[in-house]
């Protein structure tokens, strides 16, 4: 066990009760109206390579009850592990299948969605929620058209480049409904939710 450094102790929320509530409300809105980028109050300062947005989500949702899986880039960072351990107390899951949450900063090397906990038919909530840092959100006409609960009308949204092959994986994830994973994308100070209920809109 490495010594605890000052870096691990700093960068949390100064006013956690109100800041976690504010972040939660944005996350709730993001999942209730999927694929709609919303401003995320980012006031956490975790050590690199953990982006502040992911840090804010982690401070809001993680605690000793939630095993967290870190992607290799994060898992390799001792300061990140120490920061998460100090501020959230969440145990690190060795396998994606055992994780309640997954923090991902290198989405191009994301394991298949099927590698994460999918829940069971009787308890579909026992699944992993992935929190993925991306560069930006595309809502232009080339982005896939999405629909489902929370959509007044279909919306165009893409968070990962085509070559990540996310679209096919997402269709497979949706086919498992009500099992499957939920995703929260964070791009800088924006967040967008992709709950398992969201599906590709039929193209005419």
């Amino acid at each position: 066990m490495a010594a605890v450094t000052a870096e691990a102790l700093e960068g949390g929320f100064a006013r956690p009760v109100f800041q976690t509530q504010a972040v939660f409300r944005v996350l709730m809105a993001a999942l209730a109206e999927p694929a709609r980028p919303l401003p995320l109050p980012v006031e956490a300062a975790p050590p690199a390579p953990l982006p502040p947005g992911l840090g804010a989500v982690a401070l809001t949702l993680l605690d000793p009850d939630t095993p967290v899986w870190l992607d290799p880039a994060l898992a390799a960072s001792q300061p990140v592990r120490a920061w998460l351990a100090f501020h959230t107390g969440a145990p690190v899951a060795a396998e994606p299948m055992d994780a309640a949450f997954a923090l991902v900063v290198d989405p191009l090397r994301l394991p298949p969605l099927a590698a994460f906990a999918q829940g069971t038919a009787e308890y579909p909530d026992r699944s992993t929620t992935l929190v993925i840092a991306v560069d930006r959100f595309d809502t232009d006409p080339s982005a896939p058209l999405l629909t489902g609960p929370g959509f007044e009308a279909p919306r165009r949204f893409r968070a990962l480049p085509e070559r990540a092959g996310f679209q096919d994986q997402w269709a497979a994830n949706r086919a498992l409904f009500p099992r499957g994973v939920d995703v929260v994308f964070v791009a800088g100070g924006l967040v967008a939710g992709l709950p398992r209920s969201t599906r590709l809109a039929p193209t005419e």
Partner: protein, 369 residues
């Protein structure tokens, strides 16, 4: 030491010799240093603090004289919210709120599915809305405006008590006006005014499992939901028709959410079921005793079960509201005397008040109203 005194208005007034021993209602208004005699500061030898505020916590006023509430170690890092309680803001501790928040997010991701959660003991009995209160406590923030209704009314015991609870524990603003509220906790009605996108409707749910009276075992109902095996529910509605000639279920009328889960909409009158369908507002359901949370996101299909030859119908009323003449709203029967006299008035008191303020008059409203 505490004495009870009677002031000019004939109301008892508590006089406490040590302000710290009295209960201080929490508030988001700044401390009012000039209000009431200041305790223990040696002004004219007065050793009393006026704690009128403690007797009227619904006013949300700070009544402890010159003592700024909650000045402590945490106060040092707070600035604009310095008067808000931090530890156990809105009663629940942070760990509990996180657990409930995670359950809410799962519920939203799987519309209509009942997420188990570690329901806490609340300072009120089961059946008084402990589930709804926990959900509200987990979502509410200092900027929210809370409305609580009990059978449509803002002024009944359950509504008044829960509103007071959150004024005390979270210092939030409260309202009776549907249009002004950001969070509305409800026991069995959906307001008549169409809800907006920024509003959250929190239901207090007694029995979250729509199949419970048909199949008492949780292990079995879980399986039925997992397999989407809902024939039992249709048999129940069919038996209604066989026995009564029509579907006799009038409240807690089962709905199918987004074509997948059958959900109990809580014991709202079936009159309110159509309001859930593709509502702009997020709907959250909390069942405290049964330890379940579920949700319906905005713009989500919520369809009441029926048969082709026995389509779903809501209640209709032969007369308008006796006070505001509203039609197409849900009415309560009010007994007027012991000779069979009665009137029908809006169940949604805020809706009725707003209509009367706008000049609508019903048959029994009289001119004085």
């Amino acid at each position: 030491m505490m004495d009870v005194d009677v002031n000019e208005a004939g109301l008892p007034r508590v006089v406490v010799s040590d302000p710290a021993a009295g209960f201080t209602p929490l508030s988001n208004s700044p401390p009012q240093g000039g209000r009431g005699p200041v305790g223990g500061l040696g002004e004219g030898g007065s050793e009393t603090a006026d704690l009128d505020g403690a007797l009227s916590p619904l006013e949300g006023e700070s009544g402890s004289g010159g003592e700024p509430p909650r000045e402590g170690a945490l106060g040092a890092v707070l600035d604009d919210d310095a008067t808000l309680p931090t530890y156990s803001f809105a009663y629940l501790d942070e760990q509990t709120k996180r657990m409930i928040r995670r359950a809410i997010l799962k519920g939203i991701a799987i519309p209509g599915y009942q997420v188990p959660f570690a329901s806490r003991e609340m300072p009120m009995p089961y059946g008084w809305g402990t589930g709804g209160v926990q959900v509200t406590a987990a979502v509410i923030g200092p900027d929210d405006v809370l409305k609580v209704i009990d059978q449509g009314a803002d002024d009944t015991t359950n509504a008044v008590a829960i509103r007071g609870f959150f004024q005390k524990t979270a210092g939030v603003a409260t309202t009776t006006r549907t249009g002004e509220a950001t969070v509305i906790q409800t026991r069995h009605r959906i307001p008549e005014r169409t809800l907006e996108a920024h509003q959250i409707l929190v239901y207090q749910v007694p029995i979250p499992e729509p199949l419970r009276y048909l199949e008492p075992r949780e292990t079995e109902t879980r399986k039925l939901h997992g397999l989407e095996e809902y024939g039992l529910m249709h048999v129940k509605l069919y038996e209604d028709i066989a026995r009564h000639g029509h579907i006799a279920t009038t409240f807690a009328y089962p709905v199918k959410v987004e074509g997948r889960y059958i959900m109990d909409p809580s014991p709202t009158p079936k009159f309110d079921n159509p309001k859930m369908h593709r509502s702009k507002a997020l709907q959250l359901f909390g069942a405290g005793r049964e330890k379940r949370i579920y949700a319906v996101p905005p713009h989500t299909d919520v369809v009441s079960l029926d048969f082709e030859d026995h389509p779903f119908r809501i209640q209709s009323f032969s007369q308008p509201c006796a006070l505001c003449a509203a039609e197409g709203v849900y009415l309560d029967e009010v007994i007027l005397d012991d000779r069979g006299g009665r009137m029908f008035v809006c169940s949604d008191t805020d809706h009725c008040e707003e209509r009367r303020a706008a000049g609508h008059r019903g048959a029994l409203s009289g001119e004085a109203l």
